[in-house]
């Protein structure tokens, strides 16, 4: 098992290097640092001196990949690629446009993101799996049919609508919870309820339908027929056999998401004014802060790869037949 994990981690390295090269190309080759300086300083009325100054302050005045003037190692290290991209591997993300340390900012914003994402995720999983199981239990009845119709309708509603509508109804009309904001400590729950509920509701349509398909696929298998044939009641068949066997396909989709929960949700967080990583990213996009966006892309891919590895490991825990030796 350990050997397998180590091997997977080693496999992840070339992929991360690829991500790094891709973002580097995207941010520095498509646009030169001159373009970025011009954007930041305002496209019109910008002097070449101001551009040079901007670049020098932020360390963009170095060569892109190879420094011809340097000696020894500094041929490669004293470059934009090394300073801005390669250093990300050791968690050094540099500074944002407003001068703040990105790594520290990420550290402090991770918790609010998790505070929203984790309850939404767990509650959402519970609700959708329960609904899907109910629909599968009453399969091929009018209940199932209308359930699926509702799911398709719910899927077709824009996520923006859930947020805007929910905020308007629950916070503005009924005044049940604050519209937006975030509090420290235990007081935070009042701010958390609405985004969590909206997050769960907006996911119901597509996930329920997806899990229902998985359950129905299990229902048609031979072992279920055997279980019924030996006289097990239908509820027992569902909870003991089908639910357990349907866990693998459900796990595939779910475990990958867990690390990404750190990233938060762009929409929810910026709507509810939660100081998490999602709103951080949105703010950075709006402020055209390239270093922050670059760092978030890198972290996102690291988390995704971690998720993939976790998925494979979780297989072995759920299904002892799967071995990776």
């Amino acid at each position: 098992m350990l050997a397998y994990i180590v091997r997977r981690l080693l496999y992840a390295l070339p992929i991360l290097i690829g991500v790094n090269l891709l973002t580097f190309a995207l941010f520095f080759v498509v646009n030169t640092p001159d373009d970025m300086a011009r954007m930041q300083l305002g496209v019109k009325r910008v002097t070449p001196e101001a551009i040079e100054k901007w670049k020098a302050e932020r360390g963009y005045d170095k060569p892109l990949l190879v420094n011809g003037e340097g000696a020894g190692l500094s041929v490669v290290t004293n470059t934009i690629f090394f300073e801005k991209s390669a250093r990300m591997f050791v968690g050094d993300f540099g500074r944002a446009e407003d001068g703040r340390d990105i790594a520290r900012e990420i550290g402090s914003r991770m918790l609010p993101s998790l505070a929203i994402a984790l309850p939404t995720f767990i509650l959402g999983l519970f609700v959708t799996i329960t609904l899907a199981l109910t629909l599968a239990f009453f399969r091929a009845t009018a209940f199932d049919f209308w359930g699926v119709v509702l799911c398709v309708a719910a899927m077709s509603i824009s996520g923006l609508f859930y947020i805007i509508g929910g905020q308007y109804m629950i916070s503005k009309l009924w005044r049940l919870v604050p519209i937006s904001g975030f509090g420290a400590g235990l007081e935070a729950w009042r701010f958390l309820i609405l985004p969590v509920v909206i997050g769960v509701v907006s996911g119901i349509g597509s996930s329920t339908r997806w899990y229902r398909t998985i359950f129905l696929e299990e229902v048609g298998k031979d072992y279920v027929r055997t279980a019924r044939a030996k006289g097990l009641p239908e509820t027992l068949v569902f909870f003991r056999h089908i639910l357990r066997n349907a866990l693998i396909p459900i796990l595939t989709g779910v475990v990958v998401v867990i690390p990404l929960l750190f990233m938060g949700s762009l929409l929810t967080e910026s709507f509810f004014g939660i100081p998490g990583l999602g709103s951080y990213t949105i703010d950075a996009i709006n402020a055209q802060d390239f270093s922050v966006v670059r760092s978030m892309v890198f972290i996102g891919s690291v988390l995704y790869i971690v998720g993939l590895i976790l998925t494979d490991i979780s297989y072995t825990l759920v299904d002892p037949r799967i071995r990776f030796e």
Binding site: T23, N31, S158, I164, I285
Partner: protein, 459 residues
């Protein structure tokens, strides 16, 4: 009055897509298994009803994809001068909607503005009151209180006309199917004519009165700058369709080619392609899109000399967005196709072909590609609705289409603060969400019908 035809890049692509669709339809007609699957789609009532709705949307989008610049009035004998503004056929048809702008917000079917203003009333001096709208309900004159009667009567007449028109279509269909010796409307024609006709009835019963009334009122109200919301909705349809359709056009060749090549040749080619899509896949989609759009925005902003009109700039940004969405979304289909190709290449008939010395590319085109078509079709239809929804979210976040371009996302974005107003302005949001809901729901239902027909195994 003359005009100059303008072909924007996205227009070109969308008409190319129409041509491609016709070409594919002709290919399908020659292939019995695909034809049989499409027949099953045709027999599905839900599928055909949603297809009818989709076609209505596509018609609006196509009308909006024929662009021109109107000729300005000039002295005879002089060289013709054309307007800077790029219009479309839809703009010409909806000219009253486009040009009859109010000052600011007005509610649906309102005759007065939504905000009080100081107005001069003869004999009374200056009064603060809601001023009459310049266009909405103008024909009523003094009988301002009779809006409900007027609307009801107009809508009733329009419905009658719509129904008569629909009866004509109905008669044509019945006559047409009779002649082929088939019984219609009983589900025995093999094509769900009843669903199509019923949907068509609903569409004309809604759209004809809407069209009629929109000439006299602002049916969905007006927005902050007094522009008719119905007009914005119509314009948003094209943006949504382009994002949904052109993106699939972009990703399709890449996904199909790389997927098949990886599965068929295996070895280092497979490793390389797998590496590429794992790298792309491991970056969260929204972030990759955000980064790419950000970069593209810098390119556009630093090279203003590339674009002669604002429409061209917005158009290029739209296309760039399609490309970026395409690049981030080809990986899933590619992986599916690779897996299926790996399976197919081990089958006997492919090995027989190889033993006969048929070239690899010929095997791919003749034997593998046709056997993958069902996966491709399912994936394409399934992706569409997600892309329309994604466009709205991206535009809302500020990394979608150009802010000057009308789309569901930009509409929602400009309308979101209106819910905080008192009294609340709800109509633009409601209209944008409803239109998007109908489009996406139809797409989802159609996708389901297609998937059921092509992949009977999946529940």
């Amino acid at each position: 009055m003359g005009f100059q035809i303008v072909v924007l890049w996205s227009d070109g692509l969308i008409w190319l897509l129409v041509a491609a669709a016709i070409g594919v339809a002709m290919l399908i007609a020659k292939s019995p298994p695909l034809l049989a699957a499409w027949r099953r789609v045709g027999a599905s009532r839900v599928g055909m009803a949603s297809a009818t709705v989709l076609l209505a949307f596509i018609l609006i989008g196509l009308l909006d994809s024929l662009h021109y610049r109107a000729q300005l009035e000039s002295k005879p004998g002089k060289k013709a001068v054309y307007a800077v503004e790029v219009l479309s056929v839809l703009d010409a048809l909806a000219a009253p909607l486009r040009s009859r702008n109010e000052k600011t917000y007005s509610a649906p079917f309102a005759t007065r503005l939504y905000a009080k203003e100081t107005i001069d009333v003869p004999g009374q001096g200056s009064v603060r009151d809601y001023p009459r709208l310049k266009h909405g309900g103008q024909h009523l004159g003094e009988r301002e209180g009779e809006v409900a009667e007027d609307v009801g009567f107009t809508a009733f007449r329009a419905c009658l006309l719509a129904f008569v028109g629909w009866l004509g279509v109905f008669g044509l269909v019945v006559a047409g199917t009779r002649r082929q010796g088939q019984v219609t409307l009983a589900g025995q024609t093999g094509f769900a004519w009843d669903a199509v006709l019923l949907t068509l009835l609903v569409i004309v019963l809604v759209s004809v009165p809407l069209f009629w009334l929109s000439g006299r009122y602002h049916v969905f109200g007006t927005d902050k700058v007094g522009q008719d919301v119905l007009y914005q909705i119509l314009k948003s349809v094209r943006t949504g369709l382009i994002i949904g359709l052109v993106t699939t056009l972009v990703m399709l060749p890449m996904a199909v080619l790389l997927g098949i090549v990886a599965g068929y040749f295996r070895g280092w080619v497979d490793d390389l392609i797998q590496y590429i899509y794992t790298v792309l896949n491991s970056i969260p989609g929204v972030l990759l899109i955000a980064a790419a759009v950000l970069m593209m925005q810098v390119v556009i902003d630093t090279h203003p000399e590339w674009f002669s009109t604002a429409a061209e700039r917005a158009d290029l940004r739209l296309l760039a967005l399609c490309f970026i969405l395409g690049i981030t979304s080809w990986t899933g289909l590619c992986r599916l196709l690779r897996g299926e190709t790996l399976k197919l290449r081990e089958l006997e008939y492919i090995q027989a072909a190889q033993a006969f010395g048929v070239s690899n590319w010929r095997i791919i085109i003749r034997h593998i590609l046709p056997n993958l078509m069902h996966i491709v079709i399912i994936a394409l239809v399934m992706d569409f609705s997600g892309l329309v929804l994604a466009e709205a979210v991206l535009s809302y976040v500020g990394i979608g289409v150009d802010p000057t371009m009308t789309s569901f996302g930009t509409m929602i974005n400009s309308a979101r603060l209106e819910l905080g107003r008192d009294p609340v302005v709800w109509w633009s949001l409601a209209a944008a969400f409803s239109a998007m809901f109908i489009l996406v729901l139809a797409a989802n239902l159609f996708a389901d019908a297609v998937r059921d027909a092509f992949d009977p195994r999946a529940a």
